[in-house]
Amino acid sequence: MTMNAEIGSPANARQENRMERPSFRLPLASLAFWGISLAWFIIVIIPLIILFVYSFFTTQYFQTVYSPSLETWTSLFSSGRFEVTLRTLRIALTVTMIELLVGFPFALWLAKGNVSKLGRAIFLALLTIPFFLDLSSRTIVWRAILGQNGLVNTILISTGLTEGPVDWLLYSEFSVHFGMIPALFPPMVLPIYMAINLIDDTLIEASSDLGGSPAQTFSRVILPLSLPGVMAGFVFTLGPALAAWVEPGMLGGGFVNLLSNSIESAYTALRYPVVAALSAFVIGLLLLLLGMMMLVLRRFGGSGLTLR
């Protein structure tokens, strides 16, 4: 149709082109959409499905038995996995909440505070530096700092603040939290920073012009408008926190077992169905938490804003 018009008289062709353009662009856009969706499906969704299917198999003598059964799932929470799950949830949520409490004010200050352009650029660059370095290399350094003969204890003992070394600094839940917090700070701060940065300054001015105190402006304008960023920060922080593997391994010293460590040990024991079931369980856990978060936010956002 378009080809024919182009071959025809030039004036006619121009007219046709102009009329065709909107409908011509649309197929391209939808082609790209379906192409990307298909690629995403193949690369991400299919492995997840295979993983899920695997969880219905069993292992015997280090061999996977390919006959469907619920055995892996029913035995999943035996051998103390329930405590591991609770611990994982507790640590992941604690870390996420700490990140939110520290990250939100920081993001607010960075986006709307009295920061020079240069200062802002420096802070944003500093936030991206953790991505340059491998997580395990960054984490293992803490052993030298927090250990019994580490920097902190040496200082504490030599200044006479404590008599012996403080032993809860390393290989404890404290050190696991401590190791995860700097690693997960950027993924919490950056989305919130972006969201707050998008809030038009005149909205903030309008709020105080209409009589809003800084606290009212914050709770009625800034916070509700930054919620999409908070949501994204929550996802980007909670996901890795639930799946954290390096920090509990290196700084937990075998005393702080999380679900990821269970997955790892099942993997080394070649029990792939258990690996699959545990992974599927973590994903389910994450989805459940995000769903709850979404509900809370909607409730909170709704009641905080409407007159009703």
Binding site: L203, A206, S207, S208, D209, S213, L305, L307
Partner: protein
């Protein structure tokens, strides 16, 4: 003209403001009475928006002699505590709230009972004829409707002074004219002091009781709209008020407020003096509106010249004429005789020609 005998609702004395090294306002003073429509007119960079922000408290001035709103001293008082509200240029409506919630914002902030909040907000919406769209989202509104929501939101708390920062700038021509009338109507109904900022001399002329023309952070001229329109006192004011022709010359004779000017090239013409302090012999400028110039007979006062170009623009015809005093722009609103005939002499009523001192940089 309204009579303003009550005490001023807004008093600003000697505001100085600097952005770094740049002086945005140098010793600007102004005042407005209750129910007055004051317009601050100026091009971008004239300091008019800075002035508005100083009044609203969104900008802390470098120094200020006196700043009173509704009789209260507000120097150092934060924006939230001042009895004035602003209609922002881009409206600044809260995107996460409905129309009604936007309007109710200032009332809710003041912790009024919920019933009163809703009733007052609905009444304000009624006033701008948007009560039907109370539950709409801001995104579903047109530009003019958003404008009216911003207006309702600003007046619902009954401020002493309403500040409007080029509120009609983003609207199209037709809507702008409708909104001008609506704003004037609203101002009269509320009997509220309006301080209106614009760069359009036409808006200033139609709407205001008084106009302050600003230039480079200073007040260039102030007065009633007609005064500014018909008696600009400087070259800048004349240019800004849309005088197309500004001819340099020398005052050679004066009688009362009438004067005779010898223009470059030697022609002697009559005009009206904008200021009393002009003396015979002073270098002056004479400003003439293109549409107030018309062909005249050889005996009448005026300028000789030859027509250089003629552009028909539908409603009117623009002409350019070469004279001894320089090129002269003419505008004719009727087809004949200017459009078809040729002429070699043009003139004007002496009240249409403004004479002011040539002291501009």
């Amino acid at each position: 003209m309204k009579d303003f005998t009550t005490e001023p609702m807004l008093e600003v004395c000697d505001v100085v403001h600097k952005y770094g090294q740049v002086t945005a306002l140098s010793n600007v003073s102004l005042s407005a009475q209750k129910g007055e429509f004051l317009t601050i007119l100026g091009s971008s960079g004239s300091g008019k928006t800075t002035m508005l922000r100083v009044i609203s408290g969104l900008e802390t001035p470098y120094s200020v002699g006196r700043l009173r709103i509704g009789g209260e001293d507000v120097v150092g008082v934060p924006a939230a505590k001042r009895r004035c509200t602003t209609v922002f240029q881009n409206y600044a409506l809260f995107p996460h709230m409905s129309v009604l919630e936007n309007v109710a914002y200032g009332l809710k902030i003041r912790k009024l009972p919920a019933d009163d909040v809703i009733r007052e907000a609905r009444r304000a919406l009624e006033m701008v004829r948007l009560e039907q769209k109370a539950d709409r989202s801001i995104r579903q509104l047109s530009g003019g409707e958003r404008q009216r929501v911003a207006l309702a939101r600003a007046v619902v708390t009954r401020p002493a002074v309403l500040l409007l920062d080029e509120p009609l700038g983003a609207l199209d021509e037709r809507l702008r004219q409708d909104m001008q009338l609506e704003l004037m109507d609203l101002q009269r109904k509320l009997d509220m002091t309006f301080v209106y900022i614009t760069h359009s001399q036409e808006e200033a002329l139609t709407m205001s009781d008084r106009v302050i023309l600003m230039r480079n952070g200073r007040v260039e001229q102030r007065g009633e709209p007609l005064e500014l329109f018909d008696r600009p006192a400087t070259r800048f004011a004349a240019d800004f008020m849309g005088y197309e022709n500004i001819l340099p010359g020398r005052l050679i004779q004066r009688e009362g407020d009438r004067g005779q000017v010898e223009l470059t090239g030697g022609a002697r013409v009559l005009g009206t003096l904008a200021a009393d302090d002009l003396a015979v012999g002073d270098r002056v400028n004479m400003a003439l509106r293109a549409e107030r110039i018309a062909p005249v007979g050889p005996e009448d006062q005026g300028l000789d010249g030859s027509l250089r170009s003629k552009v028909y623009r539908g409603k009117y015809t623009d002409m350019l004429m070469d004279t001894a005093a320089g090129p002269l722009r003419l505008r004719s609103w009727h087809g004949a005789p200017a459009e078809h005939e040729s002429f070699s002499r043009v003139g004007w009523k002496e009240t249409d020609a403004v004479i002011f001192a040539d002291n501009d940089v």
